[in-house]
């Protein structure tokens, strides 16, 4: 069965996986980069370039952990060891179900998370195709809990960041000079955090393994490196002596506009590392079963080309449709100034990258929303619409069962076609 239709399965898996990553690139990236464009820190073109580079690096360098979770840890295929094709049908169904649901939802403008769709779909076919016990419920519990916790964590970090910017820079006698003084430190934080999380035991798939100390040293070096770059660029922004506070605030926003290039890069990296798995996780599962000739080798490693393909899919989505989506979203977010955007973006990036390092598939968009709320709580934003939070809750309640039902439907469809 597996051998007979092997190339068909792989082709289907790759096409669907690419479609999913394409969708992630086209839609989700806009949510990750929208705050940067909306606050006027970078242009749409710059956003696309940054996103392309860092989404790809994120997917390639750090996308393996979440992919592994989606591919292996959610369901236990032991009961179907003899009939591995069931898992292949299931993962194909999950991909189609999630892709279809996401397409419908974006068409209707509903707030739906890619991560929730794919998890719901996988759980759906597993219950019906393998059995309720096949679902690793404790893992699912952790994941669902993370969906509640991660926006709160993102919000808390954003709140603290915003407060620190207020305390050290905005609410001082010499805000402009303080902005110049502390800006490199914040940029150091961006580089240090992201690289530490990525490096520490994270590059096994490239045959690079660093100890804690080594990772730490590299992260510090990288952090200092980006801080120095930021320092050099920011130093070019100057202001006359005795400038009014009002003008100083304008100049400070220019400084943070530059800093947002770094936080946007971090956000793109984090997004790539977390969200690529939604597309390539099921794809990787199918490829590994087919390539091993039907053996469900739970130990098999993730082939590098799959990560590359995922990164490629995201960049493809970005360059074909993402441009327009970012433009639309950016135009709507004009209420966010760079000091706020930087706080929200760095907080979201840190939360996402830590979650994805531990292999937990989180929703980047929901964390970004949480981070924006955190900045709002620090009295940083003019007006936030709390109804959106309700919309997110609703999309939760709907997406999981719909994804599950759709994937059950496709599961029976595939079983019928190939039997």
């Amino acid at each position: 069965m597996i051998v007979e239709y092997g190339s068909v399965f792989i082709t289907l898996a790759v096409v669907l996986g690419l479609f999913m990553t394409w969708g992630i690139g086209a839609n989700d990236v806009a949510n990750a980069m929208g705050t940067s464009v909306g606050s006027g820190a970078i242009s749409v073109k710059q956003a696309i370039i940054i996103a392309a580079i860092f989404e790809f690096s994120g997917a390639f360098l750090a996308g393996g952990h979440v992919t592994k979770t989606i591919r292996k840890s959610i369901i236990d295929p032991t009961p179907i060891m003899g009939t591995p094709e069931i898992l292949v049908y299931g993962m194909l169904s999950a991909l189609i179900a999630a892709a279809l649901w996401l397409t419908i939802a974006s068409w209707m403008g509903w707030p739906v998370s890619t991560t929730h769709s794919i998890i719901g779909s996988i759980v759906g076919f597993a219950i019906v195709g393998i059995g309720v016990d096949a679902v690793n419920w404790s893992k699912i519990g952790t994941i669902v809990l993370s969906w509640i916790v991660s926006p709160l964590v993102g919000g808390t970090i954003a709140f603290l960041l915003m407060r620190s910017i207020q305390k050290f820079i905005l609410d001082t006698e010499i805000p402009f000079l303080n902005a110049k003084r502390y800006a490199p430190f914040y940029v150091f934080l961006v580089g240090f955090l992201i690289s530490l999380v990525t490096l520490f035991k994270g590059l096994k798939h490239l045959d690079i393994e660093l100890s804690i100390v080594q990772s730490f040293i590299f992260a510090v070096i990288f952090g200092v490196f980006v801080a120095v770059i930021a320092h050099i660029i920011i130093n070019r922004i100057s202001m006359k002596l005795g400038e009014s506070i009002h003008d100083q605030f304008n100049q400070i926003e220019k400084i943070f506009g530059i800093m947002m290039i770094f936080s946007a890069s971090a956000m793109a990296f984090a997004h790539g590392s977390n969200d690529v798995a939604n597309g390539i996780g099921p794809m990787a599962a199918i490829v590994s079963i087919v390539e091993s000739g039907g053996e469900m080798a739970q130990k098999s490693n993730l082939p590098l080309w799959i990560l590359l393909a995922g990164g490629f899919g995201i960049v493809l989505g970005l360059s074909t449709l993402g441009y327009r989506v970012i433009q639309t979203i950016g135009k709507k977010i004009t209420e966010l100034v760079p000091t706020r955007g930087f706080s929200a973006e760095l907080a979201a990036a840190a939360t996402v990258v830590i979650a994805s390092r531990t292999g937990i598939p989180v929703s980047t968009t929901q964390i970004a929303v949480g981070a924006v709320m955190g900045v709002g709580l620090a009295r940083g934003i003019g007006a936030l619409d709390l109804r959106v939070v309700g919309g997110i809750m609703m999309s939760w309640v709907i997406t999981l069962p719909v994804g599950a039902l759709l994937s059950i439907f496709f599961f029976f469809f595939f079983r019928g076609v190939f039997l």
């Binding site: 403008g109 209420e335 929901q366």
Partner: protein, 224 residues
Amino acid sequence: MINISSIFAKSPFKPLRDHMDKVVESVIPLNDFFEALFQQDYSKLEKIQQQVIQAENEADSIKNEVRNNLPRNIFMPINRRDLLEMLDMQDSIADVAQDIVILLNIRKMKLPEELSQDVIKFVKKSQDVCYLARGLTQEFGDVIESGFGRHEIKKLLEMIDNVSIAETEADNLEDALVHRLYEVEEKMNSVDAVFWYKIFELIGDIADFSKKTGNRLRLMIASK
């Protein structure tokens, strides 16, 4: 897809400032209006009335827009009710300016010449209080930008105190004028006299509502 942009509602602070700018526009021609009245340049009265009414209308539409964009589930760094009340206070200034020009354009009343210079002085003082209040809305922008930092709040509170002080000065001018009007009212058409008292009150209201704008702002930055 959840669109991150949907969480951002339209900030009311820029429109609040725009509204105050329109209000000031309706107050600016008041001294010219009284000069024209005393010089019996009635075509000018008509022209200024149109100007004031237009500014008041524009202020009104900004006010309505702010209100429409502020449903209850909007989260802001300030209390929603304080904001709406401040908006109302600002709007009252333009309403009063409109009342003054409409009333005087209908009742083109004369005033004993010895009072006219003092009236102009009083009008200018009231205008100044209103201009000071406009300065508050601009400084408020910096308070927001600083994330309600203590330094900017302190500066704003001092400015609010200055508006109150200026309003007291306008009050004193009003009292003096009322006294002087009382001294000469017997020589005047009695209906005119009654209406002049009314006009003085309205001119005083410009300063008074400007002060109240400041007080609402004080509540807004103090509470929460």
